[in-house]
Symmetry: C2
Subunit: 662 residues, 2 copies
């Protein structure tokens, strides 16, 4: 029986997510009836390859087995699990038990010889080994037969496995590493950062890249860069009447100068986008553009393709609305209208256009207001030719809808992190992300966005900016900030009760002074350094929350899949008061023995502490050090470090060797 294989999404309807160079950890229940011994293998391959690679699996207890493989190239990969009755081990185990009890095993030895006779040697070494085993059987040299790992390995390779039980083929979409682990920095290229309030361009943006790279971010995301509509253009602070010089919202896409494949003249040209993308690449970063599939009334498509829009009963084009709210500057597209094929292809051409211009990362605006089949089609079409392209879903919608967007192909998803502020909320939400939705939804945690300045940020002051950055950067493998608003602790809302910024960059150019003394740039830089240093922070599945008797302190650890890196984070969620308490570390989650000694090095505050056992005392002050981000080093090496538990490491070693040697 081979059952409950994972990662499998909705019974195989959708592929699971993987990334180049990262372990795909496969689990399955494998068992046979009665007291016989099962064995199991994981088989993996690129979908395009005909050759499967076999990787032995290891039992975790209660019939659960584990195997792993490491995809080394982009695109779809496949795996399956096979399980069978291990007749050699069943025989070996039973015979040993009888021999140990002093019973006569002559009939058993006869049965063992029959097993040896049933296999064919593949080379002379195997012939010799089988011959030696037969001789040992004849001599009754039990120790030579029953405790001979080389013979066991040979029998594993050569003994007939019928009846073998093989799972269905499961698929993993393998994306670039930054689909899994990335740090995003969003800025409006038309604003200036030298305090001059001069309109900036894409060429000016190149000058800002060193700053972003210094902070350690690896994705530079720009809001839409297309010509902005004039009809119903919004003025500063979302007023309905724009003045002559008001630049408008970048999300009102399309004007006389062009639509989704044009660049606003005030920002530059398509060639400038390509230059910017190259400049990012030179700094180890990726340029991300915004895909907002909607049109301003002035968009060329409105005249050229009126059939791509919904028409109201009176014949006018339907503007966007969320009754009773009206957004007359935006026309939604009709994804199920009479010429839906024409529209879908045009939108695919938009993505292809920017991919050809050098862009491989897209942040998709409001994907939840378009049909899921469109996204599944679009992403698979793009990915078939450009497996390096990744998509981030900007949907703040209901849970099932956000999950479905992950399933149909989005590489990453914005999350509710922004509004998960209490300890229990954070614990519950990230536990779910690290378990139930792990195989298909990759969270990207943002403390702020141009649309979201939470009340907590508005009222909690700088300490909240600090702790929210630490939480996002250590809880989630991908995170991002909207800057420079974030690092400059911009926190005035347009009005009480609103999450919109006052003088939001969405509607006007801003002028920022990056050199202010209170900037959080050093913290962001350090956080991104720590994230690169610690593989534990680059994964989601090794997350574990621990108890603390003070509700204002949240405590969690992360370990990487091999358990070779461990990070312990403790954050004071109270922005006003120092808080102290006992944390109670579940050492099993760190693969550390009870009562073990370990060293904690604070990667932010500095300082090294020796702890022993599970209980530890902490005190954190929002006006000084609001959080510990500890690297954890066992003082007595555990078996994982020591590599002196052959059983635990053997199958892993084999697994890696075989994949590498493929």
């Amino acid at each position: 029986m081979v059952e409950l294989v994972r990662p499998v999404v909705d019974g195989g309807r959708f592929p699971a997510k993987g990334a180049v160079g990262a372990d795909v950890v496969v689990h399955a229940d494998v068992y046979v009836d009665g007291h016989d011994k099962p064995d199991a293998s994981l088989w993996a391959r690129r979908a395009a390859s005909r050759k499967w690679t076999e990787i032995p699996m290891r039992p975790l207890g209660n019939d659960r087995w584990e195997g792993r493989f490491v995809p080394d190239c982009l695109g779809p990969w496949q795996f399956r699990v096979s399980g069978w009755l291990d007749r050699w081990e069943t025989w070996r185990h039973g015979t040993k038990a009888k021999a140990d009890a002093g019973q006569d095993v002559s009939v058993e030895i006869q049965a063992g010889t029959e097993l040896l006779d049933s296999v064919s040697a593949a080379d002379s070494a195997e012939t010799d080994m089988l011959e030696a085993a037969r001789t040992a059987h004849e001599r009754g040299a039990l120790d030579d037969i029953l405790a001979n790992p080389s013979l066991d390995a040979l029998m594993r390779r050569r003994l007939d496995r019928q009846p073998e039980n093989i799972s269905r083929i499961c698929t993993v979409t393998v994306e670039p590493e930054h689909a899994r682990f990335s740090s995003w920095y969003e800025f409006f290229p038309r604003s200036s950062v030298d305090g001059t309030n001069q309109p900036n361009t894409l060429v000016d943006a190149i000058d800002r890249l060193d700053y972003v790279a210094d902070l350690g971010f690896d994705v530079v995301y720009l809001p839409p860069i297309h010509p902005i509509g004039r009809t119903y253009r919004k003025g500063p602070n979302n007023t309905l009447e724009a003045g002559e010089n008001d630049p408008g919202s970048p999300w009102a896409i399309g004007a006389e100068e062009g639509g989704h494949t044009a660049v606003a003249p005030e920002l530059g040209t398509v060639a400038d986008v390509t230059k910017l993308a190259s400049a990012c690449a030179e700094r180890g970063m990726h340029l991300a553009l915004d895909l907002a599939f909607q049109c301003a009334p002035d968009h060329p498509w409105v005249k050229e393709h009126p059939e791509w829009f919904v028409h109201r009963a009176d014949g006018t084009i339907q503007y966007a609305e969320n009754p009773p709210k009206k957004y007359q500057d935006i026309y939604p597209l009709d994804f199920t209208g009479s010429d839906w094929q024409g529209l879908w292809n045009a939108l695919k051409d938009v993505v292809e256009f920017w991919v050809d211009a050098g862009v491989t990362v897209f942040r998709v605006d409001n994907p939840h207001t378009k049909p899921f089949p469109f996204w599944e089609w679009l992403i698979s079409q793009i990915r078939a030719r450009h497996p390096e392209v990744i998509f981030l879903a900007e949907a703040f919608s209901r849970p099932r809808i956000m999950e479905m967007l992950g399933k149909v192909g989005f590489s990453q998803s914005y999350t509710y992190f922004t509004w998960r502020q209490e300890r229990w909320e954070i614990e519950e939400y990230f536990t779910e992300l690290a378990t139930r939705t792990l195989d298909f939804l990759r969270p990207n945690a943002w403390p702020n966005t141009p649309d979201i300045l939470t009340e907590q940020l508005q009222h909690g002051g700088r300490p909240v900016f600090v702790t929210r950055a630490i939480l996002a950067a250590t809880l989630s493998p991908s995170w991002g900030v909207y800057g420079p608003a974030f690092e400059l602790v911009e926190r005035t809302a347009v009005r009480e009760g609103s999450e919109e910024y006052l003088d939001s960059e969405k509607y006007q150019r801003r002028s920022w002074d990056l050199d202010q003394p209170h900037t959080l740039a050093p913290l962001l830089m350090r956080l991104n350094e720590i994230r690169r240093m610690h593989s534990a922070l680059q994964h989601l599945d090794g997350l574990h929350f621990h108890r603390c008797d003070n509700q204002q302190l949240i405590c969690y650890t992360k370990v990487d899949p091999g358990c070779n890196d461990r990070v312990l984070v403790i954050v004071n969620l109270d922005p006003w008061n120092a808080q102290s308490g006992w944390v109670d570390i579940d050492l099993k989650a760190l693969d550390l023995p009870y009562d073990s000694e370990y060293e904690l090095h604070d990667e932010i505050g500095g300082g090294t502490y020796g702890w022993r056992g599970n209980m530890g005392w902490v005190e954190l002050d929002p006006n000084g050090l609001a959080a510990h981000v500890f690297s954890v080093t066992p003082i007595v090496p555990t078996h994982h470090e020591g590599r002196d538990d052959p059983e635990a490491n053997l199958s892993e070693a084999i697994a890696h060797a075989e994949v590498v040697g493929q």
Copy 2:
């Protein structure tokens, strides 16, 4: 989108379990992209019927929907879930929002008229209603249009639902009520209960039925009644040498007198079995026989069908063993040997034989040592002709194996209850039974069996017998005891460290005196009465554990699917000392509002208490009252009792009406 439909077992590979007259509660995620409104229906039918019945589903929040149907006959049933964009409700909701905000809705009314025009009336009443709605539209009589439930219902029936999303067809095996809710009493018919130590027969067993029926049990289970082998027959207390008059173990099946279709001469005849089954039926009980598919060396099959057994390398027949233990009185059958078809058919004939003799309940011995495909085939073959037959799996094996036996068709399963004794163990295990394995494994909880006298029973004395009976009878819809050993508090083990009874009935006849004053018969009688009285105790899914500050007190509630019956159980797990503490009832689990008042009536100890809110103080003494089994009656009726929340009850009312009217 219609997703995550339940109950579905392993993606539909296996049917879920249902019972005649019990709600099948169906859940699904149903949603559409954007702000549009979805609607959903459950469709159900007997698999043999061509006609589906539509049952409206109701939203539970976060895109989860619920519907239910009540199967009224045995055999396979099918259901599926359909979801669609509700264009009428989407229109109604948006138009109402605009109208409420004072906006012009003339274009909306035009769109509404188009929707009205798109439907065809099925009768003159519908024609009139549509005409009235059109007139109201012309007059702009908004209230008549936007708040008209009859019109909404008509539009739900008649408006085109394209594109409709329909789940795959899911299957439920509908079994008799006692597959779901049953109370078992096991006894050895050869022992006597009048203190005379005379060998008893099946005819004598008829005389014992009134006693069992008085205790309130509804399944009478007898260990194997077949001729017992002589070769390697076991003597009293499992000794290897039996004396001339030792009767042997009933599980060593087969002798000169016959095998699995024969009755041991000392017990009676096949005709006596039929009489016994009828006598059970007259008392509202079912007779259960034991299916132990193994043979004594004297079984006729050993000579007639040597190919049905495994042969060792030296040509002898393989006896049962669990190295280094040997069971030479038992030959296992070879389910995968050369004539496996012949063997499988012979075993099916055995079951058919006893079904023809009037037996419809089988307790299956050690099913986990036979192949799963055999059980799936056997049970489906029997069930196709005799859907009233049920099977209880006696497997105390690893979790995945016990689960698979439930999946391949066993109606009920023995459980680990016997060894789950600490509060956290009971909570963890029954939470899993009530959630993860709910759809395919029905637990049957036994405090003791002829094989299992736990150390807790041996050493804890009568109070442990009391609390284990209360736990089994109130936690699990099905429970059972091995009597009279249980009610007579028999608790001497054959030796320290063993779970076997001293002078076990497995190997010798016993003589019981049922009239002893310390008998627990009154408690068993009362527990079975309470179970019949409270539908909450007849279901597993309404189980919820509550906090208590004293670890020795376990506290849980059960509610039935309609939440019309509620039971609160608090048990003192300490058999030696009185224990007291605060219990903290999660009133949401009882569908009671915070701070509600309710009356607790103790169904065992008597007495009625008024409680308010979530906290309550209890004190329980093992030497007096060791447990409370409270019926819970809200003093202020909640909306479920009051039926004054139309939205919550409407769809349920419709669902039941439609199924009944099918």
